[in-house]
């Protein structure tokens, strides 16, 4: 059986756990609450006001001005998440983290026994960590994940495939794991409104409309899923690395926007090098003041972990996407990753070798003295608006004397 353990309103619950004054109050975790940005997480006390993750902070404040707006702290949540993962290992060695607040557990047991174990896990999470968790149980990851959404918070739902079909078939197709708003719209044009409609649709029609994913959607709608559970000690390589930032105010200042893109390119490159990866596909995300998101990517001939190469392509794509209007959010990511040790030996003897050694030396300085010790000069443009960096990549201590936090990190 597979169990999906989902920590209830994790970030907000951790803040309530750490600070007794927040308990029982609506809590909204976000970027810098003094600036704009989006809601990262909302406590269950905040949700009846209509607050949900991803909502602009301004709207959340309008809906619930009395909520406590707390600046999120990724290190804090990751530290607790790792302790909880260790706790799961007391029940089974087969634990796959799905996100910072969700994990799949696999165990050879009947549905009834898995339900008993699930209850014990919930009790222990409450007792040891002071947190609530919702658990979904099923014969595969799909059913476990969808069962976890049936009753929250502190819910526990176990489903056989038959119970899955009975419960989900009458529901909107959007409730199927993996079906988003756009896909729902496309399915509806085929007359597919419910999960049951999708399960009963002809495989050939779905394949014609969606390619190989069509029949897979149909299988999922019937509760079939053969995705393996990959225990985290086996390690899974990331598919992409990226950072994005909501700007402190909408702006059409080209120099400032390029400075932000350079800073993001530097952060992504640094993270690639830290984790010993290189990537070939460089992407930019640009959200304008109307909340319309534009994406553009370029696949390079060679793998890179150099911020200058990343920035060069990001900059080119920015020129293509940006028509001079005000920008709200910028993001940079690199995908199509390869482990650095897999890069061919011949590259070591090219002109890249000298630059690679220089980069290693610069990284060593930053490892020793902190990220703020060396920053690309172009990223200092509009420095007073650039002090905050996701995951503290630039030391707040180093920037503190002259700046205040401004931009709010989202990724």
């Amino acid at each position: 059986m597979i169990l999906l353990v989902d920590m209830d309103a994790f970030f907000a619950s951790v803040e309530q756990l750490h600070h007794p004054n927040l308990r029982g109050q609506p809590v909204v975790v976000c970027g810098d609450p003094g600036r704009r940005g989006v809601v990262t997480a909302a406590s269950y006390e905040a949700r009846p006001f209509g607050i949900r993750a991803g909502m602009p902070l301004q709207e959340a404040r309008r809906l619930c001005p009395q909520a406590q707006y707390i600046e999120g702290n990724p290190e804090k949540y990751v530290a607790l998440s790792l302790r909880i993962l260790d706790f799961y290992l007391e029940f089974t060695p087969d634990v796959e983290p799905f996100s910072v607040d969700e994990a799949f557990l696999s165990m050879a047991s009947t549905l009834d026994l898995a339900t008993e174990i699930g209850r014990e896990i919930q009790t222990q999470i409450d007792r040891r960590f002071g947190l609530g968790a919702t658990i979904g149980i099923g014969p595969n990851k799909l059913i476990a994940k969808m069962a976890s959404g049936v009753r929250k918070p502190r819910g526990l739902t176990a489903m056989t495939p038959e119970q899955f079909r009975e419960y989900f078939w009458p529901r909107e197709v959007r409730e199927l794991w993996g079906v988003g708003e756009k896909l729902q719209g496309r399915l509806e044009t085929l007359g597919i409104a419910t999960v049951g409609d999708l399960a009963r649709a002809k495989a050939a029609d779905l394949e014609a409309a969606f390619g190989v994913i069509g029949p897979q959607l149909r299988e999922a709608a019937s509760g079939y899923d053969d995705t393996p559970l990959i225990p985290y000690h086996h390690g899974v390589d990331p598919k992409s690395m990226g950072h994005e930032v909501t700007l402190s105010s909408d702006t059409d200042d080209a120099e400032y926007l390029r400075g932000v893109l350079l800073r993001l390119s530097d952060q992504v490159a640094r993270r690639l090098r830290n984790e010993k990866f290189r990537g070939r596909t460089v992407a930019i995300k640009l959200r304008d003041k109307r909340f319309i998101t534009h994406l553009r990517q370029t696949t390079l001939r060679e793998y890179t972990d150099d911020h200058r190469v990343i920035f060069e392509h990001v900059s080119r794509n920015f020129d293509f996407l940006w028509k001079g209007g005000s920008v709200r959010l910028l993001g940079v990511s690199v995908s199509h990753l390869e482990r650095r040790e897999n890069v061919s030996q011949s590259e070591l003897f090219t002109s890249h070798a000298r630059e690679g050694r220089l980069q290693d030396a610069l990284d060593q300085v930053r490892d020793r003295l902190g990220e703020a010790s060396l920053i690309p000069a172009g990223a200092m443009t509009g420095r007073s608006r650039l002090s905050h960096v996701p995951f503290g990549a630039i030391s707040s201590r180093a920037m503190a004397p002259r700046t205040r936090r401004s931009d709010s990190a989202e990724g």
Partner: protein, 82 residues
């Protein structure tokens, strides 16, 4: 709401089993006794690792403290003010 302070503070500290723990600290002329460490995490800054603590005082107030092994020194990062 939280007040961000980042002020150096004197902290009576215990080192036990390789771990550092705050016991009480002086702030605004008061000695604040740590009733409970409600959370603990760390953050790398260059080659050093700073240790952070969320604490609840005996007066049910809430604070965040940071221990910097380079000093060694303590910083009062945040205080909950009503």
């Amino acid at each position: 709401m939280f007040e961000t302070l980042n002020q150096p503070v004197d902290v009576l500290t215990v080192f036990l089993d390789g771990r550092v723990r705050p016991l009480r600290f002086r702030w605004k002329g008061r000695v604040i006794r740590v009733k409970k460490v409600t959370g603990e995490w760390s953050r790398r800054e260059g080659s050093h690792r700073l240790a952070y603590f969320s604490i609840e005082s005996h007066g049910s107030e809430s604070y965040e403290l940071c221990y910097d092994p380079r000093g060694p020194s303590w910083m009062l990062c945040k205080a909950w003010s009503t």
